[in-house]
């Protein structure tokens, strides 16, 4: 699995894990992100069961098992958090930050030792000591209880399924040509995003934030002006319209 430090500040750094060449066929490719401070590690959308071993190996390259203190699940999907039962046994003291709405559902993945931190609908924070990350509501995009993670210091938005692209093979980490990239995003957003109203609320909220990088859970990362281009493109896209 590719594991790479993407962005770094004095207090913390962002790491991506993905493009796993050993991933079984037929499984959607996912990006996992980690935030490492000097003594803690947060894994965001840690992924499915099939990725667990590779993810564990990647995480341990950066922190010992007892330093992995926080997990975040943007929503309840299996590609986001079905590995929870294994993390639950692996991590001695961990908290899972996830939408309150999905607690009863997510616990089906197996959870005995981990503390479930319910994120209220209006959002909240993940306090890692050295850094505080903002949880931005992204409901109905696509899940009805759904959050993005925003890092105000490094100006990074982990956008979950928003901005996701389905591309074959092992595409590069960053969007290189936005216009040609839209063909990999369009069908996904039309089908998986159900509400134009929710989409517009999210865009209005996000436009107020300074964002240098937008990092989705599938596909490539947007940087600089491509973030603005994405918001414009998404605004003009009619979603919830793939099936009539």
């Amino acid at each position: 699995m590719l594991t790479k430090t993407l962005w770094e500040a004095n207090s913390h750094k962002w790491i991506i894990c993905g493009r796993d060449p050993e991933k079984p066929n037929g499984i959607i490719d996912t990006n996992q992100y980690m935030v490492r401070t000097h003594n803690r590690l947060l894994i965001m959308d840690p992924g499915g069961i099939e990725l667990f071993s590779a993810m564990l190996n990647s995480a341990l390259e950066y922190a010992s098992i007892n330093e992995i203190t926080d997990l975040f699940a943007s929503h309840q999907d299996p590609d986001i958090i079905s590995s929870l039962g294994l993390w639950d046994r692996a991590l001695p003291k961990a908290r899972l930050h996830a939408p309150w709405l999905w607690e009863g559902f997510i616990r089906h993945f197996g959870m005995e030792h981990t503390e479930y931190v319910r994120i209220p609908d209006e959002g909240g924070e993940i306090d890692l000591g050295a850094v505080r990350l903002t949880l931005v509501p992204a409901h109905y995009l696509h899940s009805s209880g759904n959050f993005n993670v925003y890092d105000p210091q490094l100006k990074v938005l982990m956008s979950g399924d928003i901005g996701a692209a389905l591309e074959p093979g092992q595409p590069p980490l960053f969007v290189e040509d936005f216009t040609s990239h839209t063909k990999h995003m369009e069908a996904f957003h039309r089908r998986w995003m159900p509400s134009n109203e929710a989409k517009q609320h999210w865009i209005d909220r996000i436009r107020k934030l300074p964002i240098e990088y937008m990092a989705p859970q599938h596909g490539r990362i947007f940087k600089g002006d491509d973030v603005k281009r994405f918001l414009d493109w998404f605004e003009n896209l009619e979603v919830g319209s793939a099936i009539r």
Binding site: S53, L56, L60, S64, I65, N66, R89, P92, K93, H113
Partner: protein, 215 residues
């Protein structure tokens, strides 16, 4: 990287709960990755020594005889470290699978007697799952044996290097104007030997933990 204190912290943090074997295997894989890096540095160091002894000509003759040996030993270590890393990663995966099989078997065993009576094929399925879990366990035991063997071989190489350090220092002291450069090479080798010794010790501790948890 773990040290003795952080390893104890790790064990304590589980509060008496067994550390899952896949966590130990993945930790072992990460800890031993640095072995390969150190062995690579040794190989580079031997090439550096070769360049110095070539420049030193007559002064470096004594040392030049050792450089090939250091390089060969380093290359063996690189290969072994590679094997160890792959074995430990494979062990992580197999341990995860084994956990699932055991969970599945435990769930099947919870089925009522009526269910087994009405669906006798469930007996076969339970047996099959248990057999599969056993086979994963056996594979894990084999991987642990292989891991131990490879770690022993790395330790042997390290012991050899340790004895070479003394010879390096003797030869360096005979290298006249090149003495400082070759002495520095001997220092590097000695540092690498100590690092490797430390990693092997950590490897042993993790393997012991793994065995204790299995028992």
């Amino acid at each position: 990287m773990l040290n003795q204190i952080s390893l104890l912290d790790l064990v304590d943090s589980f509060n008496g709960r067994p550390i899952p074997p896949y966590v130990l295997a993945a930790t072992l894989a990460t800890e031993l990755t640095s072995t390969k890096q150190t062995a690579k540095q040794l190989s580079l160091c031997s090439k550096n020594a070769q360049a110095i002894t070539a420049r030193a000509d007559e002064w470096g003759k004594g040392f030049s005889g050792i450089t090939d040996y250091i390089n060969d030993t380093a290359n063996i270590m690189i290969e072994l470290a590679d094997k160890v890393g792959k074995l430990a990663q494979g062990l992580t995966k197999a341990s995860v699978k084994s956990v699932f099989e055991q969970k599945m078997a435990a769930n099947l065993e919870k089925l009522s007697a009526q269910a087994f009576q009405a669906h006798p094929e469930l007996h076969g399925l339970t047996q099959e799952i248990l057999k599969s879990a056993d086979s994963f366990n056996n594979k894990n035991v084999e991987a642990v044996i292989e891991l131990k063997k490879n770690l022993r071989e790395i330790k042997d190489c390290n012991r050899t290097l340790n004895s070479i350090v003394a010879i390096c220092r003797i030869e360096a002291s005979r290298a006249g104007p090149f003495q400082d450069s070759l002495w520095a090479i001997a220092d590097t080798i000695e540092g690498a030997v100590l690092t490797l010794k430390d990693r092997m010790l950590m490897g042993d501790r993790l393997m012991n933990l793994m065995e204790m948890q299995t028992c």
